[in-house]
Assembly symmetry: C2
Homo-oligomer: 218 residues x 2
DNA sequence: ACAAATATTTAGTTTTGTCTAAAAATTAAT
DNA sequence: ATTAATTTTTAGACAAAACTAAATATTTGT
């Protein structure tokens, strides 16, 4: 597999959001920041190699082999992201470009050793699940903090309200993107929540909870 | 810099063994496992980019900029080797191919963080020195264990006698390639040595010492 | 159902890095 | 010092991956 082939496989995979649907040439072109004609060329090549199903004018989907390949790439990408954040103190938003390069390194032993070194993490710093060596993994969904049941844990991945006062509040309460959050309890009368965030227990109002996105894996 | 350009720069660097000498097209071709005509093409391109000095029929040498580039690559390669051995439990001889890939990853922050994470190592698992960020580094030389003065430390990198009995002896005494060795004392009457190897102090005969290579940095 | 709009493919180029075969320069040998 | 051997370069071609422009399918709107 060439670097470019791998990038296409990943793009097709991500367009399907994990489900193996058929995606259009144009969609792939946009995702890859390339021209539709280039996609047609590459997709033909991938079809010949057995990585995708392709019928002219009818779009592309991954074959089983293609899906396996995509999951391996996703696994590598996310493990490297964990490494960068946990071991090299990269921040949440600095990891992507480097992981994008690292995911193309070819060595099964490398990735298995890395997995072990990191303690077999289940999710990456964005809360997305890491496929196992065999390609099994749970799906992640994004929900507002107020919508999840008590006992749910996940990773804070975004805000609905990005106004300065809200962001200032988060900063003051040491809530940052990438933090893991556990919902401890909910007060019935006002919908406020008791949560545990990075080993601190805090109490937040319902207004706050309705503006924070949590990524959870079922 | 493309991947291929980087490989050529490294090849030219290694052919000069660190000193910046002029090397022949054919030598580069052999090192790179490619054809001389391909080398000519690439060398012209590198010359245009200011990385090498090139006069047709007269060979190539690195410019100052080329040397700096080569040292950065060497630094990256060796830091990754340390990482693979120290953190991921790769053995001495498994690291090269993977490091060869990892050295092409582009991120200054990555390599500086890695350096810090590894505790700013001075030498790689083969005993070769790691250039500093600015490109400074000491040279390594290979010597027989019996030839170095008391107090010298280095890394065991090879054997002169590779007969089974000798290798068996090394095994029994837990002396392996990649081990760091410190010469503690020398007995005058028989030339035998007291050495410290991986926190064990042992006594070895002169015959043993004359068959073990040590890599030392002055 | 047909024309217009949109999506996709084909055909023909370009760039990068490689190759082979032939030509030219350098080095070695008598 | 001239020829022979070797090294190096040039010229022309090829494969991969991209592009542009033109042609062809498909979808949409009336």
């Amino acid at each position: 597999m060439t670097l470019s082939e791998e990038d296409y496989i990943k793009a097709i995979y991500h367009l399907g959001k994990g489900d193996n649907v058929t995606v259009s040439t144009n969609a792939v072109a946009e995702q890859m920041e390339t021209k539709p004609s280039s996609v047609t060329d590459m997709v033909k090549k991938l079809a010949e190699k057995g990585l995708v199903n392709y019928k002219p004018y009818k779009g592309v989907s991954l074959t089983e082999y293609g899906q396996k390949t995509a999951l391996t790439l996703v696994r590598k990408h996310r493990l490297w992201e964990v490494f960068l954040v946990e071991k090299l103190d990269f921040s949440w938003d600095e990891v992507h470009d480097v992981a994008e390069q690292l995911e193309h390194i070819k060595s099964e032993k490398l990735i298995d050793s890395l997995d072990k070194h990191l303690g077999f993490p289940q999710v990456d710093p964005h809360g997305d699940p890491i496929p196992s060596k065999k390609g099994e993994f749970k799906k992640a969904i994004k929900k507002l903090l107020n919508e999840v049941p008590i006992g749910t844990s996940g990773i804070c991945v975004g805000v609905k309200d990005s106004s300065p006062p809200f962001l200032k509040f988060l900063d003051k309460n040491k809530i940052a993107l990438g933090d893991s959050i556990l919902v401890l309890d909910k007060e019935e009368f006002d919908g406020s929540l008791h949560i545990q965030i990075k080993n601190n227990k805090i109490h937040i109002s319902s207004q706050i909870a309705t503006n924070l996105y949590l990524k959870i894996t079922e």
